[in-house]
Symmetry: none
Subunit: 241 residues, 2 copies
């Protein structure tokens, strides 16, 4: 343990520095794209050594709050968090309209699976029932925004994956089965650290956070149509209810 | 479908068993870390066969409610995430009813502040307008669940803090100003690492994640009443829309 880690009230100094910079950003003292003071200046301001300042900046970079540009300095990252509206009619592409020029969903694969207790309950099936399972990543303007797994009853939607590929829209795929409309029945939101696969597919730094949404879409009568588990990089996305 | 799945009123027996055990946990008959009765005892209690009991336990394990330890038995898992329902009528205490025996909100302090651009926009005020600012921590069964900062227009609610202390309920404090009802106008949900103060007040480990909700409550006509920034430990709480 370095000296800096045993500072003030047991709180590591690098963490206090990171918090102070975060506050400067949240409070508007530092705006998107602004250059941070140099390491030397920050070290002076916090009575810390440069190693400690560097550690604080590395943590902020990992969180996606700042970006270090070789030879130029460290800047407040101008990532604009996209807002994904969650409501009765929740559509991913529509929801991001006006925030991104292109929203693309790439299907990574599909397979027939047996429903786990959780999937079965969400879809109103018996555990073990056959379900279609789709894996996908969605990108907005080329930046990965969502890694999703979707389950549907096989009996009802045996060739959903093929229709999705053909029609390139979940809404239109449901339409083709005679469901011109669907509504969001339930959304459960939690957060955790990204796992290895998510880190890779979403292009995240180790230690990045994902917002996890579990969602059930239903027909207008309330019969469940699909159950989806979506992971959104917290640094790029927020959910608006 | 096994015999046990066609029991009582169409509700599978394994589901009834799982629900009963879940109730025992929520109701405090079984505490965190407690060992569940043996499969044989549970089978007797529910007049079920052991296969059915095993299925119920497997479902609970999958939900993260219990954990099976090889050769030792099944135990109540010591992380129980509470679900906070967010909807048109969002009330913290009511929302946690049935999930916790006691929900207590401790006010850490209050002061008169000038509205930042963000607060002003949320409350429909001019930036810099006088606002009441309340800091609080809420605990469920003694465990910190939320760290919140709430802003209200000073002009409208000059002594809100005093009334809150007296009435011990936000709902009743609003009532005392002639607002018998309020509705959730907007909720924005994001996630990040807890800062030092949150870590301390919420009793978290360094690196813990908080779900952050920004919420505007309004009167039934849609006029904003309060703006709150709440931080929930992601390991203890999830939000259900």
């Amino acid at each position: 343990m370095t000296k800096s880690q045993s500072a003030a009230g047991g709180v590591a100094l690098w963490r206090q520095i990171a918090d102070a910079i975060r506050l400067d950003i949240v409070g508007g003292k530092l705006a998107n794209g602004d250059q941070l003071p140099t390491e030397a200046l920050l070290a002076e301001r916090f009575s810390a050594n440069r190693h400690t300042v560097r550690h604080a900046l590395a943590v902020l970079a990992e969180e996606g709050v700042v970006i270090a540009e070789q030879g130029r300095g460290t800047f407040v990252k101008s990532i604009r968090r996209l807002s994904y509206p969650i409501g009765k009619r929740t559509r991913f592409r529509e929801g991001l309209k006006g925030q991104a020029n292109t929203v693309v969903t790439n299907t990574l694969g599909d397979r027939i699976d047996n429903a786990s207790a959780q999937v079965a309950e969400a879809l109103g099936l018996k555990p073990g029932a056959k379900v279609v399972r789709l894996e996908a990543v969605s990108l907005a303007d080329g930046v990965p925004l969502s890694r999703s797994t979707t389950w549907l009853a096989y009996r009802q939607f045996p060739d959903f994956a093929a229709r999705l590929t053909e029609l390139n829209s979940i809404t239109r795929a449901f339409e083709s089965y005679g469901f011109p409309d669907y509504v969001r029945a339930m959304t459960r939101i939690s957060a955790r650290h990204a796992d290895v696969e998510e880190t890779r597919l979403l292009g995240l730094a180790p230690g990045a956070i994902v917002l996890v949404s579990e969602a059930v879409n239903a027909d207008p009568e309330g019969n469940p149509l699909s159950y989806a588990l979506s992971r959104f990089p917290a640094e790029r996305m927020e959910l608006v209810v």
